[in-house]
Subunit: 165 residues, 2 copies
């Protein structure tokens, strides 16, 4: 099917938590998210990659204001789970390319990733669905990344951020 990229969406003020070395056995991800849900935290992207060593790293993004309560709660949970460590960072942002028919096209992914690489923007997290490719990058690089992405997909350049950004 033809890919139609409709636009680029930007989300500032994000934070990221990565739990490294989560034991790769049934139930670990459930235990982490049961604690997050019980603390009533609103989570956006959840990304987990398998690794060959019997452990997996699991990351998620949340609003900057929710970072401290999440960190406090997870600091207690991580040792109980047998996970290795947790890192929490603010100053990240999410950039997403939204379209239809994304799923079967590595072309959209390559165009996005290559334009970010050429603009010197480092990709920290990647997550995709049928209608969207989302990356987490450093917030200081967001405007540069947005300009490069609009240009790469032939979209009208975004207006400079106004006070309402």
């Amino acid at each position: 099917e033809d890919v139609v990229v409709r636009g680029v969406s930007l989300e500032r003020n994000q934070a990221k938590i990565t739990i490294c070395g989560v034991p790769d056995r049934p139930g670990s991800a459930g235990a982490i998210f049961a604690a997050i849900a019980a603390a009533n935290l609103s989570v956006d992207m959840i990304v987990q990659n398998a690794s060959g060593t019997g452990t997996a790293d699991l990351s998620f993004t949340l609003q900057k204001d929710d970072l401290v309560p999440a960190e406090i709660m997870l600091t207690r949970l991580v040792p109980k789970l047998g996970a290795a460590a947790m890192t929490a960072t603010t100053g990240v942002a999410k950039l997403s390319v939204v379209g239809i028919g994304m799923r079967s096209h590595a072309g959209v992914a390559s165009r996005l990733f290559e334009c970010l690489g050429a603009a010197g923007v480092n990709i920290q997290l990647i997550s995709t669905s049928e209608i969207k490719i989302a990356v987490v990058i450093d917030e200081t690089e967001l405007d540069r990344a947005a300009q490069a992405t609009h240009a790469a997909f032939g979209l009208a350049q975004p207006r400079p951020p106004s006070n309402t950004a």
Copy 2:
């Protein structure tokens, strides 16, 4: 906003490639996907997690039939990129919970991950968007995972796979 889970979708016959130790600098992901797009491979989920060691693992899923051409092409690329290794596996499947208002609810994620844990299903990859939470699991566990998920979200049990599954 209220979360409404509309259904569970299952995709069999998937394969997974993980490239470990990709140098975590601008352009690496672009180089990988430029090669994938040039080989005209159709990719589904793309998942990358950041790691603190200056490298990142990047995984993607594709149709089982595309695995061998992808492996051949990436075997040549991985050393040029300075990545550590590549693993390719068939026999995986994707299970997704689809709904609206997913984004702000760790509750949906925790319910899905906990029910899979209780059913003894190990989660290999996780990727989310506003409308969907997708996990990659072993294909032999798909029917058990689907039953547990339908029960956890109060959805009518799937009919046993017919010949057209």
